[in-house]
Amino acid sequence: MKITYRWLKEYVDFDLSAEELADKLVSLGINVESMQSIGEGIDGVIVGKILSVEAHPRADRLTVCKVDTGKKEYSIVCGAKNMKEGDIVPVALEGVVLSENKLIKPVNIRGVDSEGMMCSAKELGISDDAAGLLILPEGTPLGKELKEVFPLPDVVLDLEITPNRPDCLSVIGIAREVAAVLNVPFKLPEMELKNTGKQIEKQGEVTIKDSLLCPRYLARVIRNVKVSSSPFWLQHRLEMVGLRAINNVVDATNYVLMELGHPLHAFDYDLISNHHIIVRRAEEKEKFGALDGVEYTLSKDMLVIADDKKAVALAGIIGGSNSQVNEGTCNLLIESAYFDAINIRRTSKKLGLSTESSYRFERGTDFEMAAKAINRVTSLIREIAGGEVVEGIIDQYPQKIVPQQITLRPEQVNRILGIEMSGKQIQVLLKRLGFECNSENNSNLKVMVPAFRREVSREIDLIEEIARIYKYDEITPAVPQWESLEYSPNQEFLLEREVKNFFVGAGFFEVINYSFSSEEEFKKLGVGEEFYYAKAVKVKNPLSREYGFLRTTLLGSIFENISKNSSYNLYNLKLFELGKIFLSKGNKLLPEEKKMFSGAVCGMIEESYWQKKSKEVDFHYLKGVLVSLLESLEIKNYKMEKGANLLFHPGQSARIIINGKQQIGQLGKVSPWIAEKYNFDLPVYGFELSMDALLKSQNLRRRYLSISKYPAVIRDVALVVPKEISYFQVSSQIKKTGGEVISQIKLFDVYQGKQIDEGYRSLAYSIVYQSKEKTLTDKEVNFIHNEVLQSLEENFKVKIRDK
């Protein structure tokens, strides 16, 4: 909400600059989003009248004007088009500094002397309107300084009012706060209208059919007004606070709305059938043509203002075009009402229609202000649009609102705020905010809530008010002296740290992607794949199609990261993400949220280096990283089974299985048909691990195993193995046969080609024999080693190479 510095000063006298005022407002909880100076270039500018406009002899686009400032005539060359003889305009003569530091001096423009300049609103720093000269109202006294005629310069403050402070949605509301914090009085505008009588009862009638939704409705009638444009100062003030000037009647209601915070509406009295206002619920599917030119279809939970034939306004939100004030309007019916906040909010939401009026009603208005505001606006209309006010006022008030009373315990104030304040001090502070207190028989206070603070309904609300006016800055911090609480270490977070740090050490970069996915992404990853699509959680109101679902795999976005980085010529990529995937359990239940650890690699294993060329990543590189991770987490009973889901190349992928049956992840080369969709330049390898499974199977409680004191004997052997026998089978057989005496098996070469028969390959092993109990003799080692070799031959037809 916007207010201006000068406007505010009309109601509260303070000695603060705009910046100091802004600081005070922030300390009260009213954030100042921006400040804008208006009319900075106005100093020294005077009012002049154009006596003549003649074409410039040597320039088509310019004119030469004679301007009278009351004392003297000046000749001014002008580029604007919108003026005519007789117009009153702002004139800047020699020495004046306009907006943007533009200094005025006499010049000669193409052979014609120009003694000054006539100004646009922009040149005066009043608005951005640079389209033509600012034409001032007729009758503005010539020769006067512009700042004497108009309340300028001024500063517009754009305020952020939190939902709990509807009372601050007006200049008066802010004035009340400023007065409270400075402890100075503030004044309301004149709101008494010495105009009573019963005349009105003959000229109009109000019937409230739903007093729950409309507890109070006031009306006045003004006759013989002259609808035209508002005086310049009023138009300008509305524009400064972001409202458009329409005509003097509508502008007056808007002005009072901004001034007092109470929405008002003016109907054309003669367009209200029988001059009878009926406040009722809308008919189901009732059509209503609003002032904004839109026809709305209403439902019966909405409240309308009607006459006995038609709806003339959507209560508290917008007026109807069928009863709007227009140039021909002569008589007015002014409405000032108090509506139920929740109902207005629901209607506004349902119709997607928010107005200055609905914004205030749905936050809660002041039921006492309703009566004052109607008098204020009536006076203002009489002042600027003429007319006679019909004697008396209609005040239908079937649901009398009782002011709230709250019991406040001073010790509770101190218990929450941690300060020492007496009941007396509290009373003084609350009084400044308009809350009257009485002491009850004990130390408690009985606090009367003013009508403009309807949302203050509990003791805690009062405590906040006390803290606010006492000032948060005055409450000194105190280090809590609390007893220490014991927590068991959070294994999940420890694991996350461990896993992330492991991968960072292995050269991976952590990425964080949106949790969203889309139909397009599911298609890229394979629609046929049940998992990625069927269980996806759909967002009802996504920002765009791109974010229509929650993701069911992290790999989709990681693949996007790969192709995006490749487009920046970054090809050696190792990325991982730790985040949640979401699997639907039906529309009524919260989905399953599963933490996954996923990643992808491509390009070289290491950055290129002048001594040694690096190798490209491949399946076994990635496998090595994952196995090292599993081993560092002491997960021993894992195995890899060939093949993974359709994301991966069937011959170059594996499922990671623990305890013989549970799949905890997968890895492999990304399928060529998917790689193509992501425009991968290089082969990409990816993996997924379930964090839950890692958490359950990790063993971070390490146990020391004694180191053998006895020497180790190493036997290297090259085995010629039939191709269908896997490394895993051979190694398992070696271990099984050798038993505990084999302390380590290491594969150091794989070879096939020359010297090796077709259908075979050579696996070269280093086998380490070592006992924990004694030194093994050559004889003993030979015996076991031979047994191992024999068993390999028997089981897998393995031969020994070169022997």
Binding site: G418, Y472, F503, P591
Partner: protein, 339 residues
């Protein structure tokens, strides 16, 4: 005799000092003085002829000189070796050639700052907890004193999954889940992802991270809240940073406050980052509203507490000087490498 010996010492010292290159010269000097027929040896040999008193003095001196020459010779020998080494250029390297790069990755800046936050609160004896990202409206709003028709719902543009199920707009529902399951006293922080359907721009992201804090106990006051905020922001941004609490509104705290720190970029003078105010609003905070306690079955007459929370991206942006929130989610390696 003493004089003779001193003279011997001086000449030997001089001769050793004069040796420039040849190792052989060292040996010659050793023989000259300490050899079987060497000058010092000779003197030691004739000791028997001296009176016991003289023997004592001369013997001591002669031995001293012998040891000194020995030491000087061996030092000289080291010196000669060093000299040779220095002049040997066979193994010379171009040490300006690049070293082998260590292939280390980096944590995402959001993880880094979150780790810092966790460590600060762990030291303050807070537990770290998490909650679901897809939430019921009850946990995300109602239990947090935000009924369906409350205008405060407009403050947070919400993604819906179905009626009653939303993507959480804040980490605050974790407060409720924790209080439902535990009895006070409590001290937790709850970091995590949140979602709001704001249009994406330099300062808005539909997915973002928050950290939430909650303290419940006996005699917890607003002064404690101020203190914890001060400790936290000073640890994060530096010991001398000023913090300020100003009134604000959140449905689930009362009194509510906005926590600002003196702009770390302009030191409070006013710049574009702090919108000329000199202050950066970073956290929302306040005393737990009694209605929230009632929703979880705590007696507000027995317990008091405070809560606080804010966006992690904003903290990281300020700490690292990042001007566009979208950078966090683009995962451009040229960005990620910098942290």
């Amino acid at each position: 005799m003493e004089k003779e010996l001193e003279k011997l010492r001086e000449t030997a010292k001089k001769e050793i000092a004069q040796i420039k290159e040849k190792k052989e010269d060292l040996e010659l000097i050793r023989i000259k003085y300490l050899g079987r027929k060497g000058l010092v040896t000779k003197i030691l040999r004739i000791m028997k002829q001296l009176s016991p008193q003289e023997r004592k003095i001369i013997g001591k001196l002669a031995n001293e000189i012998k040891e000194e020459i020995d030491l000087l010779l061996s030092l000289k020998q080291e010196e000669l070796k060093r000299l040779i080494n220095k002049n040997d250029l066979k193994d010379d390297l171009d040490i300006t050639l690049p070293g082998k790069p260590l292939a280390r990755g980096k944590l995402h800046p959001l993880t880094k700052i979150l780790e810092e936050i966790k460590v600060i609160f762990e030291k303050l004896n807070f537990d770290i907890v998490e909650g679901p990202e897809v939430e019921t409206e009850y946990y995300n709003f109602e239990a947090l004193n935000t009924p369906p028709d409350h205008p405060a719902r407009d403050m947070q543009a919400t993604f819906y999954i179905s009626d009653g199920i939303v993507l959480r707009t804040q980490t605050s529902p974790v407060q409720i889940r924790v209080m439902e399951k535990n009895r006070p006293p409590l001290r937790i922080i709850a970091p995590g992802r949140c979602y709001r359907s704001d249009a994406i721009d330099a300062s808005h992201s539909p997915v973002f991270h928050q950290v939430e804090g909650l303290v419940v106990g006996k005699e917890i006051t607003f002064r404690h809240l101020k203190s914890i905020m001060k400790i936290f922001f000073r640890q994060l941004f530096g010991e001398d940073i000023e913090i300020r609490l100003t009134p604000s509104f959140f449905p689930f705290t009362e009194p509510s406050a906005e926590v600002s720190v003196c702009c770390v970029l302009c030191k409070g003078k006013g710049c574009s980052v702090c919108q000329q105010t000199g202050w950066l609003e970073l956290f929302g905070a306040g005393m737990v509203d009694p209605n929230v306690f009632k929703a979880v079955g705590y007696d507000p007459e027995e317990w008091t507490g405070f809560a606080f929370g804010g966006g992690i991206e904003r903290l990281a942006m300020i700490k690292y000087g990042i001007t566009d929130i979208r950078l966090f989610y683009e995962n451009d390696l040229r960005f990620l490498k910098q942290f």
